[in-house]
Symmetry: C2
Subunit: 359 residues, 2 copies
């Protein structure tokens, strides 16, 4: 089975999160980001690595900073409000670094929610936002519920369809608990995120039937395909008609509507690789009920879910956010393991853009 | 394969939608609903039947009106606002008919969205709301996007879990198109809705592996179980770890948070059978961008999805809402087919409560 590559002392180097923040921020600033934007971009990538979501983590500074340097991303960038109401905004990410646009959009949503209960922002002219649930989780410290979505160029077929038409179009959702760990959902609307197929290819293991099919004949794939091309597609969550593929597909189109059509930036099949439209929302819990009562009920729910007897062969029932919180506990205490090849690449990139290597 | 029971001239009777509206409304009024609430409850049930969602359709007037008559549901009922802000409300459904509470909650959300861009209502003290996407679709005529969710007592196991802990916790989402038919998503977060298992039992056909498992050993079920009990559970959408069961599970808990925890009415495993907490949201599209431009892009997206080449063996690629719109075209023109046993039961119930039988 394909799971995460286990990082250990022989294949990775532990680096304190603070040093990563400093290093990434200095690289982003060296390629033209404002210091505030450099800090934001670094913060989002470090947060993903700290939570164990390494595919969206610190190694991405290399590609992102190259895109900024060569003009693929526009820096310095501006998150420009095109239209807004008390509770809503349509913003242009100005074709800058996606992490920054989504972060600033969620700041706008939170400010609106503080004043009026709810805030929602749809984002056009955007690029890759990394771990989408990061933006949802920004709501937590304000005692709010957060939700976030993002699109991408086609990688996934519609239910019954034999062509890539949709991005993996992930959904993020975060809600604060009290004594328990916060609820944190980060999920692609495809059976599996693209990164897992690439991972299987790199480490040379088969993938389970159900993740993707050959195009146009719909044959099962168990050998990870060699990169993104038109000969195969990921399946929508549910995979087959009988197992609910119309549901994963339907959720994916919902993401396209909120991110791409509501913003006017375009739905998945109009997007080029590297283009991503996004959407964020903040909900002020205190406008509905007492926040401590809400958190106490969250705790109660999370405990009941943890106490569910597991299926034979399963160790325990998790709550969305548990794996990320486990990783965070370890990585904040012991440093963030950075795979050795990526560690070298980040150091090399720092030297290349002329900043001090501090990791 | 289990699909919908095909209603035809030998097993059903076609009744004009208007006659069903009159009949159901008179029954609800006879058992103590106000005339406005009787009309609403009838309208939601007739809409489900017109759209071909017969499990949530007109036949439910029998059980609902009995619940109202015997005090299980409180009628006349009041949708009482417990707390509110410009954009949000927490309401009590007063333990009345769930259809009415959810309808009135969505009216509140739409009014708030008209004034402030967004409206969101979480509903406690509620009962069964029928076809959940109905409430989302109420937004369409106001050029808004609608979203709706509802919970239920446990029927579904968590990912990796061997106990029913979650309702089928469905999600509804609707967005207006221009010349094309509106986008309309109505999906349980389990692999399959409970009604399909009951249907397979009634018509005596096996169910596909993947819909449910035996409890506590997790064995596959292909013979439809004999009703709701503790010996089996539905699977979350995704079913297995490798196919993304944590995603269906995660979405289900998200529904519990917005409906049950945000309202304070309680999450699934605290609910008795017949208790349902709900949540609705309205988004004023015009606050983001020109509504005609939005609808034109929706049309473009829907056409591209329809034009997707189908997998071998599949007829065509659908867009969520197509099956319901096809049923609506037929049923508004030719009458709503009501299965003969249910037709007799509705007529009998009308006579029982002392109203004229008009169907």
């Amino acid at each position: 089975m394909v799971s995460k590559v286990k990082l250990n002392d022989s294949n990775s180097t532990r680096v304190p999160a603070e040093a990563l923040q400093t290093q990434l921020s200095s690289i982003f600033e060296a390629v033209g980001c404002t210091s505030r934007h450099a800090e934001i971009a670094a913060k989002v990538l470090v947060a993903a690595s700290v939570r164990g979501v390494d595919t969206h983590g610190v190694a991405n500074v290399v590609g992102y900073s190259k895109n900024a340097a060569d003009g693929t991303y526009t820096v310095p960038q501006e998150t420009r409000v095109i239209s807004e109401s008390e509770t809503t905004a349509l913003v242009s990410g100005g074709n800058g670094i996606g992490l920054v646009s989504a972060y600033e959009a969620m700041e706008i949503a939170i400010e609106k929610a503080k004043k009026h209960g709810l805030g929602m922002v749809s984002i056009k002219d955007g690029h890759h936002v990394g771990m989408v649930a990061y933006y949802a989780s920004m709501a937590l410290e304000h005692d709010m519920i957060g939700m976030s979505m993002t699109t991408a160029a086609p990688a996934v077929r519609p239910a019954l369809g034999a062509k890539k038409m949709l991005g993996t179009n992930p959904i993020g959702f975060a809600a604060p608990a009290g004594e328990e760990r916060d609820f944190f959902l980060d999920m692609a609307t495809s059976t599996v995120a693209s990164g897992k197929v690439g991972l299987a290819r790199r480490i040379g293991v088969p993938i389970p039937a159900g993740w993707g099919v050959t195009i146009p004949d719909g044959g099962e794939i168990t050998s990870p395909p060699d990169g993104e091309n038109e000969t195969w597609a990921l399946n929508p969550l549910g995979n087959t008609r009988e197992q609910g593929s119309h549901k994963g597909y339907g959720l994916s189109v919902m993401v396209d509507i909120l991110c791409g059509v509501l913003s006017g930036g375009g739905f998945s099949s109009k997007l080029d690789r590297g283009e991503n439209m996004s959407w964020v929302m903040a909900i002020d819990i205190g406008k509905f009920r007492d926040i401590d009562d809400f958190k106490a009920m969250m705790d109660d729910m999370i405990r009941e879910l943890h106490d569910t007897p597991p299926l034979p062969g399963a160790e325990r029932v998790l709550v969305p956010g548990d794996p990320e919180a486990d990783a965070m506990d370890d990585r904040l205490a012991n440093g963030v393991p950075v795979e050795n090849g990526q560690y070298a690449a980040i150091r090399e990139r720092a030297a290349e853009v002329g900043v001090e290597v501090v990791i």
